[in-house]
């Protein structure tokens, strides 16, 4: 598990931690049942408060990506594939709706490309 957070980012720290762990689970970089760095160790390593890491792990658990074993810590759940599938389906559906609304608003494919790019790199206003 690797994490690199920016303290000067507008995205809250817990969200950055969550997003990065999530990406590593969904991409298969973190295999099922891999132990995650403990909440307290991660807080110390990243120089953030314990509440921040607790919140990130709590969210990941609520989304079904990790599980907790009392006294032993957090582990990657084995259903990353299923969740990834779910994401891909959601992306397909969203794109359909984007294309439809874009056409209605008179945007070209190029305009939409640009918008996606902006969103992807987080420069959306």
């Amino acid at each position: 598990m690797t994490i690199c957070i920016s303290y000067q980012n507008d995205i809250p720290t817990y969200e950055q931690i969550k997003m990065q762990i999530k990406a590593q689970i969904l991409s298969g970089e973190l295999l099922p049942d891999t132990p995650l760095t403990s909440i307290r160790q991660l807080a110390k390593d990243l120089k953030v408060s314990v509440i921040t890491t607790t919140r990130a792990y709590g969210d990941l658990e609520a989304e079904g990506l990790i599980y907790t074993v009392q006294g032993r810590g957090c582990f990657v759940k084995g259903n990353a594939d299923a969740i990834r599938e779910q994401y891909l389906r959601f992306i397909d559906e969203s794109l359909l709706s984007v294309a439809e609304k874009g056409k209605a608003a008179g945007l070209t494919l190029e305009d939409l490309h640009k918008k996606l790019e902006e969103a992807f790199y987080g420069q959306c206003n």
Partner: protein, 286 residues
């Protein structure tokens, strides 16, 4: 969740200064920063908690008990300057302190002296400020305390020593069930460590709660001219010939002119504007 610290209705009257009805709690396993300007009452609160002064009224529970002798054995208390005899060496210090703690662990103490490169035979007065603070921390880590009460543990330290001190505090928190309350006016100490904030000003409690909540509920507003009807919502308003600047509760930013900008407030900003409001109110009106 159990509270490691509970302070209820704490009052203490001095001539010229009063601590008024202070209430806050810190859940077990977390780190809480006690902030406020000089003379706000931070040290008075810590002294009342440790029994160094007697409060006029109020209740204080540490680790679920009133602060009596058995609790003190589980406390680590550090006031801005460690209180050891000037001529004692770290070895003397161990010999004189060990009998008071049933859980004293010599192996841990020696490990820490080693790690901090503290010469066990050097006199206390010969150590630098940073080394003195580390020695005091080594003592509190060696008797397996559950609650640290630290009064400005980072003041007077250079940036590198300060970072080491903060790291030690983080390390202390690695074990479940350990809690820290520390006072500071260096707000960057809070950004990267504290879970909770207790903010005291002029003897009054202004805020106590989660750190995120503290900064998330305010924003900084800058603009050319503040509308008259928004004036009452402006905290610590500063007006100058080309515009204005103030702090505002996030829920009240509606109705500002279009050209005004709002941005996220850091802990530092919230405190600076709040203090400015206090001073504006008491000194002069512009």
């Amino acid at each position: 969740m159990d509270n490691a610290i509970e302070v209820r209705g704490l009052c203490k009257q001095y001539s010229g200064f009063a601590l008024n009805d202070i209430n806050f709690c810190v859940p077990e396993g977390f780190c809480c920063g006690l902030v406020g300007p000089n003379g706000a009452g931070k040290t008075t609160i810590l002294k009342a908690m440790t029994g160094m002064i007697k409060a006029d009224s109020g209740e204080i529970y540490l680790l679920n008990r009133p602060c009596d002798a058995p609790v003190r054995e589980e406390l680590g208390i550090l006031f801005d300057q460690p209180y050891f005899q000037e001529d004692w060496t770290p070895l003397n210090i161990e010999r004189s302190i060990k009998p008071f703690y049933r859980n004293w662990d010599t192996a841990i103490y020696q490990d820490l002296l080693d790690r901090f490169s503290l010469d066990p035979r050097k006199k206390f007065k010969k150590f630098s400020n940073g080394m003195k603070q580390k020695l005091a921390m080594a003592v509190h880590l060696s008797h397996k305390s559950k609650l640290l009460l630290l009064d400005e543990p980072t003041s007077g330290l250079d940036p590198a020593a300060r970072d080491e001190m903060l790291d030690l505090m983080r390390e202390y928190l690695l074990k479940e069930g350990r809690t820290i309350l520390f006072s500071t006016h260096i707000t960057s100490d809070l950004e990267h460590l504290a879970d909770f904030i207790v903010y005291i000003s002029h003897g009054n409690l202004i805020f106590s709660g989660e750190k995120e909540e503290f900064t998330d509920s305010y924003c900084i507003v800058r603009g050319r001219k503040i509308p008259e009807k928004k004036r009452k919502d402006a905290i610590g308003l500063r007006e100058y010939s080309s515009g204005f600047e103030c702090l505002m509760e996030l829920s009240k930013v509606g109705g500002l002119p279009k050209d005004a900008v709002t941005e996220r407030a850091a802990i530092h900003d919230v405190i600076v504007f709040m203090e400015r409001r206090q001073n504006n109110a008491s000194d002069y009106k512009t």
